[in-house]
Amino acid sequence: MNLLLILLFPLIGFIINGCLAISSTRNGKKISSQQSGVVATMGMVLSFLTAIYYYFKFAGFSGETKLIEQNVFSWIKLGALHVDFALRLDPLSLTFVLIITGVGSLIHLYSIGYMSEDPTPAKYFSYLNLFCFMMLNLVLGSSMPHLFLGWEGVGLTSYLLIGYWSQEPKNILAGQKAFVMNRIGDLGFLIAMFIAYKYVGSLDLSDIQKSTMSPHVMTVFCGLVFFACTGKSAQIPLFTWLPDAMAGPTPVSALIHAATMVTSGIYLLNRISPLLLQTPDVLFVISIVGVTTAFISAVIACAQKDIKKILAYSTISQLGFMFLACGVGAFDAGVFHVMTHAFFKALMFLGAGSVIHALKQEQNIFKMGGLSKKLPITTITFVMGWAAILGIPPFSGFFSKDEIIIESLYSPNGNQILFVMALLSALLTAFYMTRLLVLVFFSPSRMDTETESHVHESPWSMIVPLMILAVLSLIGGFWHHSEGNHENSQTIMIASVIVALLSAGFSFYRYRKFDKEELTNQFVEQGLGIDNFYNRFFGRGTTRIAQNFSRWIEEGLIQNGIKFCSWAVELSGNVLKSFQVGSVQAYLMMMVICGFALMVWVLQEVLHEVMIYGK
């Protein structure tokens, strides 16, 4: 068995689908979503099976030896810098590989049904496969440049898939926004990489983990890495791209913007966790940013009307919980929440996709309602996802979320403020999720009769992933052996469940008979004006600089420079043209003149002497 196989299967799927997409645009032959979808899904399933093989192989190993390294080829050799293209599998990356390939396979399968009416499914599936390939590079790479390759690759595919329906200018803008926001974060990653090269002398992640930098350098390094994570994982201050990223197809939102790509920040923080534990300042900032993000986005989610936007803000909020876990030093709890969140949030996104598919692209929850009778399976699975995110035992969210809440109070870096904020966020989560659930599935129908008559349960390829993810949301919590032996942890668990249930009950009572559109606070609905703030303080200035550059540098310097070059060439051409008269005798005359000049030049010394002796 070869580690490379995990990477290779999605890559092969990407190449096949890419060729299909190109040939179908060339000869105009339409490719159905079944054809390309089966290829793409096969690639992911094979990759998943390989990962399963390694899971069982690891089960046979003991503690410290759970590490497989494989050098593929020597990648960069520049003086002292030597980077191998090497893969490294340890329990952390194995967890991520299993999530990516497992949830990825289900979402590929789901996409076959969801994209059945799309004109270019081969293109879609090739992007999706490329994304999985890049994401696997991110978690399997053994060095920072390799990680960065995956990091940028997932950013690229995220951009491509957000703007997949490129007929709408709005979607393209959303893709650009995501890309630019990610680039800002990537700058932190790049500088961190330079620092690592200067002060560690190696870019290998295990060398960096073991390195002994001075405390200041380490703080800067960790801070920059964390800044990169805020971009990719949509935390304050770079979180505003994620709600706009919902412009992409819903399975994409489920895979990239809920289950995998946005959790790569958690992965990176875990990778450098030995360094983070030595820099309490950075850890403190991470926990504050995490819990603030969790709270603020939960507030914004309460005022949203678009089903996908609610889930997007919910994702940001849950990512905030994961960052909080990392910030208080409970890295395992963070990764555990990544896993359970991947299950239940992918489930909810796919459920939302099933609803949107049934209602012909309607996304406003106030134009839905009463769907539980028409979409029974979607409803049951969505309720299971809802129970998981609320943290109702024995659903998976209960174990991971409550562990984070407990750690935020009891771990050495935790304190009461973090704990209260986390609990409040959990309360709000219960509120807006119940609001979503009730308004979509249980309240009286607010659809027009035209749409209502067409509502139908989704095809099997969409239902099966929903059911599998629902089961995983139910049992996913038992994979982790939580220590959970703080003295009051049971009290806190019970308290948080009661808080969630009370909030859910209030929400249910409020929305169960809603039959009109809710008047939400515009300011909150627009994301607390943060987009406006960024536009005013960064967007405008940057645009002005860019405009000035375009005027003075581009038009002034470059364009005129090129004009001058062409003018000089033309002038010299005109001068030389006058010599080309075509008459042999004219040429001969020039030859004679030049020959004479040459002779004078060669013989000038001789002539000089002749003149002297002549006297």
């Binding site: 075509g582 008459s583 005798q585 005359m589 004679v592």
Partner: protein, 100 residues
């Protein structure tokens, strides 16, 4: 007649006359004749130097030059005739195909 300088001056004048003829005369036959004039001017200087240095090499060169000049004038005349046949003119101003 024994002054080699005089011989050289004559040779030089004849050469320049020939050169000017080649450059400025428009009739190709005259141009050819001017070329012959230049060759003969060179021959004269060869012989003069041969006499100054008392070496026979120059006189041998003259024989060579005369042979080549005969061949050259034959080829040149042939070219002029063929040009005249195709273009119906022997005026060098009319022949400007090199420019196109």
């Amino acid at each position: 007649m024994n002054d080699p300088w005089l011989m050289l001056i004559v040779s030089c004048s004849v050469f320049v006359i020939g050169l000017l003829g080649v450059i400025f005369r428009k009739n190709l036959l005259i141009v050819l004749m001017s070329i012959e004039l230049m060759l003969n001017a060179v021959n004269l200087s060869f012989v003069t130097f041969s006499k100054i240095h008392h070496v026979l090499d120059g006189q041998i060169s003259v024989l060579f030059v005369m042979t080549v000049a005969a061949a050259e004038s034959a080829v040149g005349l042939g070219l002029v005739i063929s040009l005249f046949r195709t273009l119906k003119t022997a005026d060098s101003d009319q022949i400007q195909m090199l420019r196109d």
